[in-house]
Symmetry: C2
Subunit: 245 residues, 2 copies
């Protein structure tokens, strides 16, 4: 049986919890991981608070194959992610010589104490950087530490992804039911029971005529079982006696 590779996300930042900034990273990373065969199992959002970051990070890194963090690696006093990660791993942290050298070249006279904070990397971590990324992310153990700015985070995902082990990709197929969720709940449950190696989800929405409608999504790592379950779902929908309201 193929290995299941799992992941958690830890979003770090007061601005998300205050509602001032609307997170765009969870959805991006979730979709990215699904596409490379990694199962996202849990997400947590915590404040820029050392104890909260350490507790959440330790909980997630013990449970899942990988943990992706976003936020808190900038140059200001509220950017405490790197130091918190070092404490969670009980390792030291210092200015990374390679990063300092790059910063000296790039910032020249503008390289000040605040910017040097961004060169603080926990001992033993591997840098996540490229020509277009100013302040690096890093990977330590099974934890990948990334920027909170979406465009930078996305560039970091592209750098890290090839280094990750990935599982058998989760396949999915969806169908528009043209039925209210409540009209298909019972038959859908029966199909789910008959196909335990698939995961069947139903998602209500208001369609273009403002009528309640439902998307049904079947997911499985086994293409044959996915197809068999979807065939049953479509047959069930075709046989629906209930007229739409």
């Amino acid at each position: 049986m193929s290995e299941i590779v799992t992941a958690g996300i830890l979003v770090i930042g007061d601005e998300i919890l205050s509602g001032r900034t609307k997170d765009k990273n969870i959805g991006f990373i979730a979709e990215y991981l699904t596409n490379i065969g990694i199962d996202l199992k849990e997400v947590r959002v915590v404040a820029d608070d050392e104890a909260d970051i350490i507790a959440a990070l330790n909980a997630l890194r013990e449970r899942y194959t990988y943990v992706f963090t976003t936020g808190g690696i900038g140059p200001t006093h509220d950017d405490i992610t790197a130091d918190s990660v070092a404490k969670a791993f009980r390792v030291g942290i210092d200015h990374h010589p390679e990063v300092v050298a790059r910063f000296k070249e790039r910032f020249k006279d503008d390289l000040n104490e605040a910017r040097l904070r961004m060169a603080r990397i926990p001992d033993g971590a591997e840098l996540v950087q490229s020509a277009t990324i100013l302040a690096p992310g890093f990977m330590i153990g099974n934890v990948i530490v990334m920027a909170g700015v979406p465009s930078i985070m996305q560039a970091m995902m592209d750098i890290v992804a090839p280094k990750l082990k990935s599982g058998v990709k989760m396949l999915s197929d969806s169908v528009r039911a043209n039925a209210r969720e409540g009209d298909i709940g019972s038959p859908l449950r029966d199909i789910q029971k008959a196909y335990p190696e698939t995961s069947i989800g139903s998602y209500p929405f208001l369609d273009e005529e403002s009528k309640p409608n439902t998307n049904i999504v079947v997911r499985s790592r086994d293409a044959d079982k996915l197809e068999a379950a979807m065939t049953e779902v479509k047959a069930m929908l075709a046989g629906l006696k209930v007229a739409r309201p």
Copy 2:
């Protein structure tokens, strides 16, 4: 000293973790709570999995004044939130007579087993419903269970909010720095140290000229201290010797 009222959010749903659905509820609830003086401290997203829901819910409800859940209260087999909440509280769950009566009136012959699932309410819970909400949410202990569909969740927040105790509202003020974050990190840290009863955050962004710029946000429950810290921040910005690149 005024009481600090805290909250956690628990988002429940495979579709968020797969990236298929992009969550819109966290940002809405975060902003809502900030506006009524409740501090959102943590968010978790978990799958439609009973053990995961129970573990996360118990962790959050022990730590915070309130916990808001979204998702998993529909009519299909993957909607297991109400049952999981009952198990977390170790109480029974059954079809709520008032909800069943409403459903009979509304659905008439369409009231089937699947729809009746939506009438399952944990013992002792208080319904969260209105004329426009079909399937009710509920409040049990310090936990408020709401729909995942944003428009319904938002209607439920409006019903619940007046019943919650709220703390002294967090005030905030912001200023555009017209400076790179790395140029203001050190003076900003000094101001933060001098005003420990404020929380100063800095948020980099690319401005309309595609230049790196920074928003500075000062937050406090004390209007005078907020103003004093912001005055310092603005004086610091006015005195910046560094020319913009």
